[in-house]
């Protein structure tokens, strides 16, 4: 069987002359949400620095000199807070009995959101609820907003809905996520095709341990660096190195070395990540961070604060100006023309008017 597989896997059979691209490489997960560890670090620190600068300015605009003694969060503290809320998602899913796909998707959304936004602007609590709600929808396991918010204490509908567009936008509307748990399931099924693995060599507990590792990997950055199948294989390797090796070998392309050798470094790093960072964060440390967050929150986002109201005022003024301008234009058109429907436009005027058309709805 292994030889047969290998022969078939030699080169994808194509009728055309072009080489086909693997499907995963067409996915958004591969194209936009893949980072190296160094890139992750850089993205987070630059995001944090930019946010601190902006918030500092807002503080200064409010009362000059107030931002001197405010201790802003740094990138690793932000990450700690996000991690805590990531660990809350499985608890919520258990409460609602959502399938594992919802849980995994929501966690991915939360992670990706905080690669584009900072904790000081948006507190993870509501973002987490919104991400979970969004995940139920995008994975085709929807529940009504009513039943969602009524089952979570101290949550209103607007808490979830207000952030929905922001979260979607931060995800760049790329909602499809490939998950490691499905890959693990696939490996597990495929193991049954291997001729030399008898049933007692793959007891059910091996799978259980492996899936636990997959769940732990969700608390880490693994999915932002590695592909889901790699994470799955690494989890299996942690549970049973023998099985992992056998399976990987069976997938090898004919001429190359046994697969397991080439994959080893990758698997090694993943294993390290899972074991070292796959635990929930220390609650005390997080509480400390949360306390400091209250002080350095961006006042523009806090409804009711001076900066927030000022921001709202400027937005409204801008909208008002636009409206007035529009009304003025219409008035002019109606009174100047000899005809209430406007005079006969020649081609140039038509083109000009089309160009000036303001199509937005405000």
């Amino acid at each position: 069987m292994a030889a047969g597989n290998a022969a078939k896997a030699a080169e994808p059979q194509t009728n055309s002359s072009t080489v086909k691209r693997p499907l995963y490489e067409g996915s958004t997960q591969y194209n936009s949400w893949r980072y190296s560890p160094e890139q992750l670090e850089q993205v987070r620190t630059s995001l944090n620095a930019a946010a601190v600068a902006v918030i500092r300015n807002t503080f200064e605009a409010d009362e000059p000199g107030s931002s001197e003694d405010v201790l802003f969060l740094n990138a690793s503290e932000e990450q700690l807070l996000v991690k805590l809320y990531i660990t809350k998602i499985p608890q919520l899913c258990g409460h609602f009995r959502f399938p594992e796909e919802v849980e995994a998707t929501a966690i991915s959304y939360l992670k990706r959101f905080y690669l584009k936004n900072t904790v000081m602007d948006w507190h993870p609590k509501n973002v987490m609820l919104t991400a979970l709600f969004l995940a139920t929808k995008t994975t085709n396991n929807p529940i009504s907003l009513e039943s969602y918010t009524s089952n979570i204490p101290k949550t209103s509908n607007s808490d979830v809905l207000d952030l929905e567009f922001l979260v979607s936008q931060s995800l760049n509307f790329e909602f499809a996520v490939w998950h490691a748990h499905r890959a693990l399931w696939g490996i597990w099924l495929d193991l049954q095709s291997l001729p030399d693995i008898s049933e007692d060599l793959r007891p059910q507990d091996v799978y259980d341990i492996a899936i636990k590792h997959v769940r732990a990997s969700r608390f880490t950055d693994a999915e932002l660096i590695y592909t889901p199948s790699q994470i799955a294989l690494a989890s299996l390797a942690l549970a049973s190195p023998l099985l992992a090796e056998r399976w990987a070998d069976s997938k090898a392309v004919t001429s190359a070395q046994p697969f397991s050798a080439t994959l080893d470094p990758t698997l090694g790093s993943i294993k390290y990540i899972i074991t070292q960072m796959g635990h929930p964060p220390d609650v005390e440390a997080v509480r400390e961070v949360d306390r400091r967050l209250k002080l350095c929150k961006n006042p523009e986002k806090v409804p009711g604060s001076k900066a927030y109201l000022a921001r709202q005022a400027t937005e409204q003024r801008r909208a008002e100006e636009k409206r007035n301008k529009k009304a003025e234009d219409v008035r002019r058109a109606v009174t100047q023309g000899g005809n209430p429907f406007g005079s006969e436009l020649n081609e140039d005027e038509k083109a000009k008017q089309l160009a000036e058309l303001d199509d937005d709805d405000d």
Partner: protein, 327 residues
């Protein structure tokens, strides 16, 4: 002919009809439109505004091309037998010349709800009437025109908005009508086809029965023959037609879907799908096949297995790493 007093009486007497102000307003609108359009067509030709037999109004006024107003019933009465002289200006007209101005596209089309209370609405209507009266009777034309213009300025935006609404509503209606017609046609076609097929089937059955009665061949042969004939018929929609169609060609594209490295077995020892597989009754209806789920899992297992991870800081081009600091 009627005189000014009568017309004035009609106009001034409107305060008595407070309850039907709305109705009067609507009835006045078509006429008002005509006057405002005369504003733009450079003067008033034959408008005298005098309505003879038509006082008081019997029904909906419809102006003719010379802007004489008459209610619908009077128009019917006068013009049903053919062209007749208009009672006001004696010009010979046909019934066609009277068009109900339904489109309230022009001036003076504020509605009851645009006003806070009945009083201000009535005031507005009075103003409208006054202007109309003045225009129609050549009283103080320049001042009235100024008033009109003034009024229009104030409501330019509203007018335009209403215009647009009308157009949009019209377009929508037309579209809906078209769609409805198409649907009806399709339904009719389908019905016809079904009927034909039913008839043919019945005929075939009758033939079989007749054959069985009178023929000496074996029943099996007869039935087989009839079935062969069924297949030949164009409308036959049985499962046998599937064999006649060309085999389904799967989608061909440039993506490699990881179908090589594995073969999907018929049966897996799988804890997740136990419930589904035990389901003999087919509760999981709707074409859910466990095999497809297995297939997908297997593909996921190998997808990207050999992809090296990124390292270093060179960001790949075309990746939107925009920081969302606003909103």
């Amino acid at each position: 002919m009627s005189n000014h007093a009568n017309v004035g009486g009609w106009l001034k007497g409107k305060t008595v009809w407070k309850a039907s102000i709305a109705h009067t307003a609507r009835s006045s609108i078509p006429r008002v439109q005509s006057t405002s359009s005369t504003l733009f067509s450079g003067g008033v030709n034959d408008v005298s505004g005098r309505t003879t037999e038509c006082l008081p109004m019997h029904g909906r006024p419809m102006p003719c091309s010379y802007y004489h107003k008459m209610c619908e019933s009077c128009i019917d009465r006068l013009f049903t037998l053919g062209p007749a002289p208009c009672p006001i200006c004696q010009k010979v007209l046909r019934k066609l010349a009277f068009t109900p101005r339904l489109l309230r596209t022009l001036l003076f089309n504020k509605r009851r709800k645009d006003f806070f209370d009945l009083r201000s609405y009535n005031d507005y209507l009075e103003e409208v009437e006054d202007i109309t009266f003045n225009l129609v009777n050549d009283v103080d034309i320049p001042k009235t025109e100024a008033r009109t213009l003034n009024h229009r300025h104030k409501n330019a935006a509203l007018i335009e908005h209403l215009q647009r609404e009308e157009q949009y509503a019209q377009a929508l209606k037309e579209q809906e009508d078209l769609e409805r017609q198409e649907k009806e046609q399709c339904a009719l076609e389908l019905q016809r086809k079904q009927e034909i097929e039913r008839e043919e089937r019945e005929m075939a059955q009758r033939e079989i029965i007749d054959c069985l009665e009178i023929s000496t061949k074996s029943t099996a042969k007869v039935i087989a023959k009839s079935r062969a004939e069924t297949m030949k018929r164009p409308f036959a929609r049985s499962t046998t037609t599937a064999l006649l169609h060309p085999p389904h060609v799967p989608l061909q594209d440039d993506w490699y879907a990881y179908d090589d490295p594995h073969t999907v077995r018929d049966h897996y020892d799988d804890m997740y799908s136990d419930a589904v597989r035990k389901d003999q009754e087919g509760i999981m209806r709707g074409e859910y096949r466990v095999e497809e789920a297995w297939d997908r899992a297997l593909r996921c297992a190998v997808a990207g297995l050999d992809l090296p991870s990124l390292s270093g800081l060179n960001l790949s081009p075309g990746r939107g790493d925009n920081v969302v600091t606003s909103a």
